[in-house]
Amino acid sequence: MNLSLLERLTTICGTSGNEQAVRDFIISKLPSDCEKTVDNMGNLIVTKKGKATPKNKVMICAHMDEVGFIVTSITDDGYLKFTTVGGIVPSAVFGRRVTFGEFTGIIAERPVHMVKGDDKDKQPQIDELVIDIGVTSKKEAEELVSLGDYCYFENDFFLFGEDRLHAKALDDRLGCMMMIEMLNAEPEYDLTCVFTVQEEIGTRGAGCAAFTVNPGFAIVLESTTACDISGSDDENKVCCFGEGAVVSFMDRSTIYDRELYKLAFKTAEEIGVKCQTKTKVAGGNDSGAIHKAAGGIRTTAISVPTRYLHTASCVVDLADVKATEKLAAAMYKKLCEL
């Protein structure tokens, strides 16, 4: 785990279809003895020679994109209308600052004092909100913003509590950080890491990358929903902080390879790291595209439990990040030899 690298990775902005800045930064952090290819979609495919050639070709994968916002129109008095890129609940948007890089915007609506009656219980939806950048006319706004421009949650990267980390875009820059670290080490076996695009708008990049790489096995490194908050009963917690890496049996995109699922738990036990499963069939990730690609690829997803996903306030427990890293490295070796 490399926190300064993670801080840089989470601060850079790159939503689906606009991963350029993230990709450029990742390339700058890779050693010169890697082979780097950017495919037609924008996926970054990196290979590095290991000490030995593996029995099976294994692809490790994490996505570069994060959820964000796209400007859809400008009102006569200079407010920006927008929609989300990826799934963001309206309550996580209202009252937030967003960054356009050079300047800041405010997402809001009428003040609470002017909300009357039944409306008080209603959460304003995305199409009822505006972004205020401080200008007073459409003309002024148009000098700064073009339709289709992206903006992002501001990043507030800080450690708090007992080894907790808060930042935006931990989903999935955590996975990106882990792969950068693996590529900078001396791998035992030849290593293929894929930094994918457009995961948040329908796992659109990973399938193309998997087609190109055509591996025997794939490991997806992700962050997944932890709902172990006050008031959640056990079955709705999905996964819990402090219980280690998360290995899923099924989510909304994939029924995972049963043998690999069991192998992950066995491996975790062997190397002495904590491992848990998701207790709810929810969410999805690049596995959904990968396991169906290139005639079928046996896939496992290893995730970091993350609270408040798809908000400006993603939170992880650093012990779980370490467990996920260790399990990913051990599973990679196991699959190379399987």
Partner: protein, 339 residues
């Protein structure tokens, strides 16, 4: 005086109702540049008096409130999650996933827990204050050493400058008013005034104008110009119920306000070409002016409001040009002949 810089400093200090201390310290630091006797009372009011009670001049009090909305820790559950009550009218629609600071033995950061879209199907309903649970990342035991019931909580927010002369941040309601009063004092420095000047930065406005009632009694003023924020038009609001941001001070007109003071404000604004607009109310104003005007045997009070967007959110927006207009109008009133 650089209004933006002073406002930034004021807004960076926490001061939830009844626990205004940190904000008071910043306000005192600036106020002492104009009044050596500036002090803080037991109720969290910051006060000062410039002049001499025996010179025969009447006393004009310049007032703004120093407190801000927030939460108060009411319970810590077995897992270490914090439950809270509201101090003032917070905006339920923005609680989810906000980062907060609990002002305990030391500042403790946390996040208001929420469920993500993958598992939360009801995204159309606003959260309630009683649904708030704050995740500080500590166990109950560890948290117990840092946080006590009754500690205050603020939503974190960075003070930012927007395009033009606009700024955004937490607590610009009513630190903007504090900045306007300080700006007025800076304009009056070394000038002859027609009144003794009293200053009140009042506590506990957001929970019912309690500090103003106490402060106004103690300062014993004849006149008062109170300043608070009011609504600036934003999409979704009724235009007739709002002021316009960037169009100057909003002169309050209401039965609870002194009509002669109000007329004088209008006259001075016209003479000195200070931008103003009007806010007409049929009764109480919802500001400290309501309590001040009935303090002691009555204080003849005028109200100057600063148009603000997104009131009671961590991203409130004000225009520093409007703060300047309020400060100028206060200063000109103090020099514009005694009533």
């Amino acid at each position: 005086m650089d209004i933006t810089e002073v406002l930034k400093e004021l807004c960076s200090a926490a001061g939830v109702s009844g626990a205004e201390n940190k904000a008071c310290v910043v306000a005192l630091k600036h106020l002492r540049k104009f009044a050596d006797n500036a002090t803080m009372d037991k109720f969290g009011n910051v006060t000062a008096f410039i002049g001499d009670r025996s010179n025969g001049k009447k006393t004009l009090m310049l007032e703004a409130h120093i407190d801000e909305i927030g939460f108060i820790v009411s319970y810590i559950d077995d897992k270490g999650f914090i439950k809270v009550g509201e101090c003032g009218g917070t905006d339920r629609r923005l609680y989810a996933a906000q980062t907060v600071t609990v002002h305990g033995e030391c500042p403790v950061r946390g996040v208001i827990a929420t469920l993500p879209p993958h598992v939360n199907s009801d995204t159309k309903k606003a959260m309630k204050a009683e649904d708030i649970v704050i995740d500080t990342g500590y166990t109950k035991e560890a948290l117990g050493k840092l946080v006590s019931l009754g500690d205050r909580v603020t939503i974190d927010s960075r003070f930012v400058t927007l395009k033009g002369t606009r700024v955004s941040g937490r607590a610009t309601d009513d630190r903007s008013g504090v900045a306007a009063v300080l700006y007025a004092l800076s304009l009056l420095q070394g000038k002859e005034t027609d009144y003794n000047i009293a200053v009140l930065f009042a506590s506990q406005e957001e929970t019912g104008s309690r500090g103003a009632k106490i402060g106004a009694f103690n300062l014993d003023a004849d006149f008062c110009l109170a300043t608070d924020v009011s609504f600036a038009y934003t999409p979704g609001c009724k235009k007739e119920k709002c002021g316009e941001m960037g169009k100057g001070a909003m002169i309050g007109v209401s039965p609870v306000l002194d009509r002669e003071v109000t007329e004088k404000l209008k006259k001075i604004a016209a003479e000195k070409e200070i931008p103003v607009q009007f806010e007409i109310m049929g009764g109480e104003t919802g500001t400290d002016a309501d309590e001040i005007s009935t303090a002691k045997n009555g204080v003849r009070t005028g109200l100057l409001s600063i148009p603000q967007k997104y009131m009671h959110t961590p991203v409130e927006v004000v225009d520093t040009g409007d703060i300047k207009a309020v400060g100028e109008l206060m200063a000109q009133f103090a020099m514009g002949g005694a009533l």
